[in-house]
Amino acid sequence: MTYGEEQEAASAALLGLLDDAAPAPDSADAVLALRHQVHLALLERVELMGASRHLDQPKRSTWQLDTVRHPLHSLERIVRALPAGESGDAQPSAVLAAGAADPSVELWRGVARHLALANAELRGAPPETWLQRPQTWYLLGDLATTVESLVVLEERLGRAGVIPQMSQNAYLHHRLAAGDVSRIAGWLGTDSSSDLAYQSPADFLAVGGGPRIQLIRRPEDYARAQRALAGFMRPRNSFDPNQAETERPGLLAARTIGQGQVRLAEVFATWADRGGEPDLASSFRARIPLYVELHRSTMRLVELQPTRSPLVVAQQSEMVQRARTLIGARMTSASLQDLERSTGILSVSVGKALRREGKHRQHLLVRDEERLDLKGARPINNSRDPFVVACRALLQSGATSSSLRGVTPTNRRRRLGEQVRSMALDLKP
């Protein structure tokens, strides 16, 4: 299952609960235990999305947070502010696994289980596949709708006397804050590719304790691998203790990616043709001349110090090697769109990283017309230099990537958002 499918299932269960009456009195204990698991799953999601890692932490003394600046912390505060209630001491596995006759309990179980499973899918996917800004806003939208739905349900449980009741103003403020985050996420969360994130720990190979190489087992892994490769193009501290320096992309990375991406673009275009997506096939093929030009522009370059870029080489090599065995595969339209988008992200990353190395860091030099070594080599300080032009073309090609269509059904999440926003709050005058 993917994150999107789990979140859809959680939303379906929440929709059921919103339509449902309060639980039977003898089911209250089970509901409280499951509600506790829902709280834990939401807090886990908040942590997973990096609430404690943000450099811009809100002050504890601030009573009402700015939902634009601190959307994640706003949601965290809402969940933490909800009354604890008596959750018992049952193990999560016992609470989440057992069946019950009361449909209301089953729906709570569905919410808790699918939220926990969605967390597991996100946690098991490489961060590069869902940590881009439009992707995290998309995930925040899901989280905000879920939190707002939970506040509505909590208010009902409070009225039924199952949990301590908060003031009506508190419920109102929580719903407003969650609704604000949800609305902003709707504007900024334009990349739904994180719906395709799934957990598969066996698919990674950590080299020397370093970042994970995405192994390819099926065509759908290519989108993740392209994003992982885009991540490896950014300078990072060396994980190799023998090479105590920052790893930066250089000539080897440029040539390896140039050649590898041309080969992959041919394969991706074949899959797109086979999947009945001629536009995507053209889009994949359109990048071939750009990478050829990048490779060509490196012929007359030399670098100050040879760079090894082991992660880039290993990731690109894994992708090219596996393409031979997977060339006959078929991909769904949604997966092809995700692949096209991740290929666009990679193009941007390659263009940016190499242009920085050449033009700004001046690590790559233009060689003398006669010689290929460092003697007589000069820095790239001309924006019309073929290397800079090739990098710029790649950078610009990423912007043409189309948006995803129908990656994973979102109708239940959308319906949940509409329904929870339309639910009146029982405000006393």
Binding site: L252, R255, T256, G258, Q259, V262, R263, E266, I288, P289, V292, E293, H295, R296, M299, V302, E370, R371, L372, D373
Partner: protein, 106 residues
């Protein structure tokens, strides 16, 4: 043939194909770029040899294949031999692609 000169010539032939022919022959790009990368990772000549330029793709590939084969046959280490044989296989692939498109033309 002097091995260093052989490597210089092979590098230069592949570099000139990349520079002069690939923009119009994108179908050759993948194998030629891969062959060049294999050689460039282990050997960078002081200068490009002028007699490797202006040959046309077919002629340059033919010469590169001959040089790669000769270097592979005289290689001492297994790793180097395998690398050169792989380079030769990639050049063969490019030649096949070139031949198939030439035959397809009226």
């Amino acid at each position: 043939m002097n091995r260093t000169h052989g490597y210089d010539l092979l590098y230069s032939l592949l570099a000139f194909i990349c520079e002069e022919d690939l923009t119009t022959r994108l179908d050759l790009a993948s194998p030629v770029m891969a062959a060049f990368n294999l050689i460039a990772e282990h050997h960078v000549p002081d200068r490009l040899l002028g007699d490797a330029s202006g040959l046309g793709a077919a002629e340059a590939l033919d010469r590169a294949n001959t040089v790669a084969f000769a270097l592979a046959m005289s290689a001492d280490g297994l790793e180097e031999k395998l690398r050169l044989l792989r380079t030769g296989a990639l050049i063969n692939d490019a030649q096949r692609r070139l031949a198939s498109t030439s035959q397809g033309k009226p």
